[in-house]
């Protein structure tokens, strides 16, 4: 499989007559974009705004972030299985609007959070303060069931990324990244002495606002499955998770999964990267046993020497993370976990909801309970009401001058458990 990600560096975004990229400036025809998204009869109104790095702009409540792209060679238009006809992904040439992001907002339920500040303290914590954001506010028709509302917002975001991605079809890339890997037999013959490493990516799979999709299939319904890293980099994995703002994996982060990119970078040098296993995080205990046993079995069958496991969310998924770790270590497979901590304002509480002695190599992506103060914004894109919700979880968090004290928990991507964020990690 060979995937070329042809990165077109975006330096600014403006509204204009055409959908195009000219000299790094992304021009968006707002009417065309709105008309496309209004084709869905469940959509009542679409508002489109732009937010640029450094502006005193706050975006809230963010549902998903998506990287706009267009496939110029090979199969796969949009997001196959979701917005496009089903084809396998992972091969071909893709023009990527690097530095741009579609950011969807919308009140699906009243207590939604997820803030992106484009300046100041808030910007420090979210990777999406550095992207030129095309913010799409999706207002559905009245009377939709919550899960239909969620689906409407999710699909509109993906379509917006597809429409905007078209702007890059004829642009010249600033640089090209190539991801190529043969089958296991070929790669293992090439690198017989390198340790074989698998990446297990866990996905929240629990129902309304807590879902992930693979080629459009709800991950609640799958057994853990093996996927080529190129497929995920090419858009096979979609976020339907609208909670846990700090550590949900947005679609953008799937498209640019840091764990995959780092493992790819070491492939053929220090490791033989075998691929990705996507594992659902279910709610029932029996379901958890099934997926954890199955994940460990797949890793063992594949002959992995080492496995990196990343979590999504906090709470009951901690049990899955540690159960997978326990099983892998018992099978003699060295295991590294990537998670985040919920260790209180002072960082002193037990970081995970579960524990196991086999978890000896753990990377923390940050403390979700860490408190930050966000200054008042000049402009709010989205719902001003959501700001009081953001601050509403505990006493005294919204001060008179309008600044908000909140936990990192509310900030999009602040403690990303796949490492796509701004925190660094120290070795202890």
């Amino acid at each position: 499989m060979k995937l070329e990600l042809r990165k077109i560096q975006i330096k600014d975004v403006v509204f204009g007559e055409k959908m195009e990229v000219n000299g790094g400036v992304l021009s968006i025809n707002k009417d065309q974009l709105v008309a496309k998204l209004m084709e869905d009869h469940r959509v009542k109104e679409i508002k489109v705004d732009l937010a640029k790095p450094g502006e005193k702009t706050r975006i809230i409540p963010v549902k998903d972030c998506i990287e706009p792209r267009v496939k110029i060679e090979g199969e796969g238009k949009g997001f196959p299985g979701v917005t496009g006809k089903m084809v396998p992904l992972g091969d071909g040439k893709v023009n990527v609007l690097d530095g741009a992001a579609v950011v969807t907002i919308g009140d699906i339920v009243g207590f939604q959070e997820g803030v992106v500040d484009m300046w100041g303290e808030g910007a420090k914590w979210t990777p999406f303060s550095k992207t030129f954001n095309i913010v799409v506010d999706i207002i559905p028709v009245e009377g939709l069931e919550p899960h239909v509302h969620e689906e409407t917002v999710r699909i509109a975001g993906l379509k917006a990324a597809e429409v905007i991605g078209e702007a890059g079809r004829y642009a010249e890339p600033t640089h090209v990244e190539v991801f190529e890997m043969g089958n296991h037999a070929e790669e293992s013959a090439k690198y017989p002495n390198l340790p074989k490493v698998l990446y297990v990516e866990m996905l929240i799979s629990q129902g309304l606002l807590h879902d992930g999709y693979i080629y459009g299939v709800n991950s609640q319904k799958i057994l853990p499955t093996l996927i080529h890293p190129n497929e995920e980099l090419d858009g096979a994995v979609i976020s339907g998770n609208c909670v846990a703002a700090c550590d949900k994996i947005t679609t953008y982060q799937h498209q640019n999964n840091s764990a995959i990119l780092d493992l790819y970078a070491e492939h053929g040098k220090t490791i033989n990267f075998l691929g990705v296993i996507l594992t659902p995080e279910l709610t029932t205990l029996e379901g958890k046993f099934r997926t954890c046993d199955y994940t460990a079995k797949l890793c063992t069958m594949m002959g992995a020497d080492g496995v990196i496991v990343s979590e999504e969310g906090y709470g009951n998924p901690d049990s899955d993370l540690l159960m997978i770790c326990k099983r892998l270590e018992k099978n003699g497979i060295k295991t590294v976990l990537i998670t985040d901590e919920c260790s209180g304002w002072d960082g002193m509480s037990q970081p995970l909801a579960d524990t196991t002695k086999e978890a000896v190599a753990v990377v923390s992506a940050g403390n979700v309970s860490h408190v930050v103060t966000l200054e008042p914004a000049d402009r709010v894109i989205g719902s001003a009401k959501a700001i009081s919700t953001l601050a509403g979880g505990w006493d005294g968090s919204l001060s008179e001058d309008g600044s908000i004290k909140c936990e990192l928990n509310a900030v999009i991507g602040a403690t990303s458990e796949i490492g796509y964020h701004n925190c660094t990690v120290k070795l202890y």
Binding site: Q206, L208, Q220, A244, W345, G392
Partner: protein
């Protein structure tokens, strides 16, 4: 394939057969405590007691699936529920209620419960798929 729902969510109580409901007129923590008592008496814990996101820990409502029969005490499940109560207290000690969002929390709790029941039934139903084979697709495509 039988279960009961321990819940303090009035909207769940209205939607399911009352024989399947153990309604708690109390808080999220009271639901956890009732589940703990049941698990100590040998009732199976079907659901993981905590949600998958911090936000849902602020929910005033929680619905948890348990079994219907008393069996031998399961030490792992006792540990899970006891640990969950401790974690719940730590995570919510600085929180305050959000009554203005109570209805939305009730909706999401009910939807998550629905997914959980579906998952439980899928796993326990011997003929969960009516699809008998690929011959139709393969030969007539």
């Amino acid at each position: 394939m039988s279960y009961r729902i321990v819940t303090n969510n009035p909207s769940v109580r209205e939607s399911y057969n009352s024989n399947n409901i153990i309604f708690i007129d109390g808080s999220y923590e009271d639901v956890l405590i009732k589940v703990r008592d049941l698990v100590h008496s040998g009732v199976e814990l079907i659901d993981s007691p905590l949600g998958a996101s911090i936000r849902m820990l602020l929910s005033p409502y929680r619905s948890i699936l348990v079994g219907t029969e008393r069996q031998a005490m399961n030490m792992d499940q006792i540990l899970i529920i006891e640990q969950s109560i401790l974690n719940y207290r730590t995570l919510t000690q600085r929180r305050k209620a959000e009554p203005e969002h109570a209805n939305d929390y009730a909706v999401v709790d009910k939807e998550l419960l629905k997914a959980s029941i579906q998952a439980y039934e899928d796993m326990n139903c011997p003929t969960h798929s009516k699809f008998t084979g690929g011959e139709f697709l393969e030969t007539r495509a």
